[in-house]
Amino acid sequence: MAELLIKNGSVFDPTRSINGDVMDVAIRDGRIVESAGPNAKVIDASGKTVMSGGVDIHAHVAGPKVNAGRTMRPEDKLFKSQAAAGGYRMEMGFSIPSTFRTGYDYARMGYAFVMEAAMPPLHSPHVHEEIHDTPIVDEAALPVFGNNWFVLEYLKRGEIENAAAYIAWLLKASKGYGIKVVNPGGTEAWGWGLNCLTLDDAVPYFQITPKEIVSGLIETNEALGLPHSVHIHQNDLGNPGNYRTTIDTLRLAEGVTAKNRFGREQVIHSTHLQFHAYGGDGWGNFESKAREVVDYVNGQKNVTFDLGAVTLDETTTMTADGPFEHHLNGLNHLKWTNVDVELETAAGVVPYVYSPSIRVCGIQWAIGLELALLCKDMDRCFISTDHPNAGPFTRYPRIYTWLMSRKFRDETIGSFKYSDKVVAATEIAGLDREISLYEIAQMTRSGPAKALGLKDLYGGLSPGQDGNVVIYDIDPANLPSDPSKLEAAFQRAAWFIKTGEVVVKDGEIMNHGNKRTLWVRANVPENPQVKRDIHDKFIKDYTVGLQNYEVRDYLAPNPYVIEVEMEA
């Protein structure tokens, strides 16, 4: 493979505390190296910003509910698709883009990795089929465990070893990456049309509480030593006053230390925190509690979070939090899709318009940004929109720009129909902080890579890491005063080199690169009881045969398998 030398760029690499220093980056055989030989192809990056490839810790980009959203929304394609680039696949859809558009748009923004945030295990062959058809960007998927009958039964009985053995088996069977928890217990309750809104609401029949599920899964995760921590979507998402449940859930991690060989420090990753930082006791006095939540997180080293920032678009909400989507449909009366998945989980999908003319939407927008602006450790705060829930991932550049420009935030507040009410219910208008390029690199590169246990591959530009380098046409010494120019530069990278190949030049796709699927093989001691339990449940309760459930290797070509060993 050819050698590349990226010369004279302003490099931002938080893993080595490099903050805009003008230097060269060399790539050989798909990896970053110390220096390049005389025959290296040279790319001049002078006056431009150089970072490693972006890492998205949480997005819904592949699988049954994403596709249910695509199917149910032809209007998301009408006049909103992007004309195909000559020689490449068509790029359809806006809030829930086709797999092809998903891969191309991540590449155009300079992203090297995205985590599919919720894989229903029964549907894992589907998730991998879509990952297979998503070009360029590396992907992994988190199976959901917070409402899984095996897990509920083992944890109810305090059988951490059995839970670990089952989870290890399921990660292998589904080619999954780690432990995702969505509305623990609440989604199983939704099987009967019910929910668990607090940490102490017992799950019908199983008689276990969300608190016990979360604590048990944290313990199991650390017993297995997985690269990523428990990744949680908490109970009571999207409701006024939910910040208390949010903080109570995070408290379950107090005193627990991460155990793994990947350099990960957190034991809980709290996802799309914007949806969980709400005050008030109804929509009438709905307000931001971002400060309360971030103050707690600032003091807890073993917690990371991503924003779930609202982008003020017409989008499509989708989550394994089935009861929430039903509730949301009752508020906006648009179409509603739901899929309950036997023994495992559920999912709901509802279109949503975050309108600047609606007070609540303005407050939600403010909360998403406040979480970042109030945070003191940017290596633990990551940028996301919970794509497509709070907005499509293609709006990340706009979020960077809101964070980097107080002027842009003020313009947006000024455009709201109820700006006074939004300002009164939040503290966004009083926050002067402007996030730096270095901090953007922390929030989108070094931070999420470390939290996922992937810092050896992604997140920085040290020799040995993957040769993922993005060059943005942004001169750090002379940032554009027009926010839209900054956004445009992030939207379409000048260059993006993915594992040593130029995949984007001047914002256009050049190559399909060398896309990989990452998954985790956790090796645990032989466990006959769990083996028997799996066999029995497939005979009695599932409607699919065990042999046809495990994802076959050909569905995940070019795999990158991370091995972990659990000690007996």
Binding site: M72, R73, P74, E75, D76, L78, H333, L334, K335
Partner: protein, 267 residues
Amino acid sequence: MPIVKLTPIAQPELCLDCYAISPDALAGLTESGIADLEVWEGKVRWRLGDFFEVSGDAGRTPDETHVVVDGDASRMKYIGYKMTGGMITVNGSADMYLGGWMKGGKIHVTGDVDSFCGIQMEGGEIMVDGRAQNHVGCAYRGDWRGMRGGTLRIRGDAGNDIGTFINGGTIIVEGNAFIHVSTHGEGGTVIIKGDVQGRVGGQMVKGDIFVLGAIQHMLPGFKKVDTIEKEVDGQPYRLDHYVGDLGERHPSSRGQQVLGNLYVRAA
């Protein structure tokens, strides 16, 4: 107003997608520029001039442009696509999507139109002297924002799905209609002067429907509340007033439930 006359000189083998036949696409162009505009037959791109003789230059703006299609356009789709102003006259029939996504201006078709006439129309006027196929003034698939404004008049009969998801504007069918009028309607007015077989106002949240003929099968979700005198399209009528669809959700306004209104000519 400058007139651009398009006289058909050849008929396509397949249907022709004529996004170019609208005042918006023609405005500012001369005869030869108009003849060079693109039309599609499947994946093949042709010039507008391959199918029409073009005479006359367009006005400077859409509002100042009148397009006359002088002959049969029954295999020409998308006439008046997204137009914002000016006029189109079709001396003959037109194919699907006549006046689709239209925002302003006027279209007059002397013959018939195929389906999806006035799909997601937001403003302007459409008048069809003949009959219309299905989906008059309907929403695009999946969109809850159907017709939002303007006036759409069919002087003959129309098929099914009239004003599906209508949010505003007025549809008038002077002849008979088949089934499904204002299904999922949430505003706007639909007037059927002839008879309708059934399914009038199903899943309707709000809006007004007038049927001046008879409804063969009334939906059980509509309840008669009154008989009133009312003027409809300039003529006075005695009408039975029904409210519904009682099976559907309804919003409240100032403590009052807002229902859909269905007025049927009283016996």
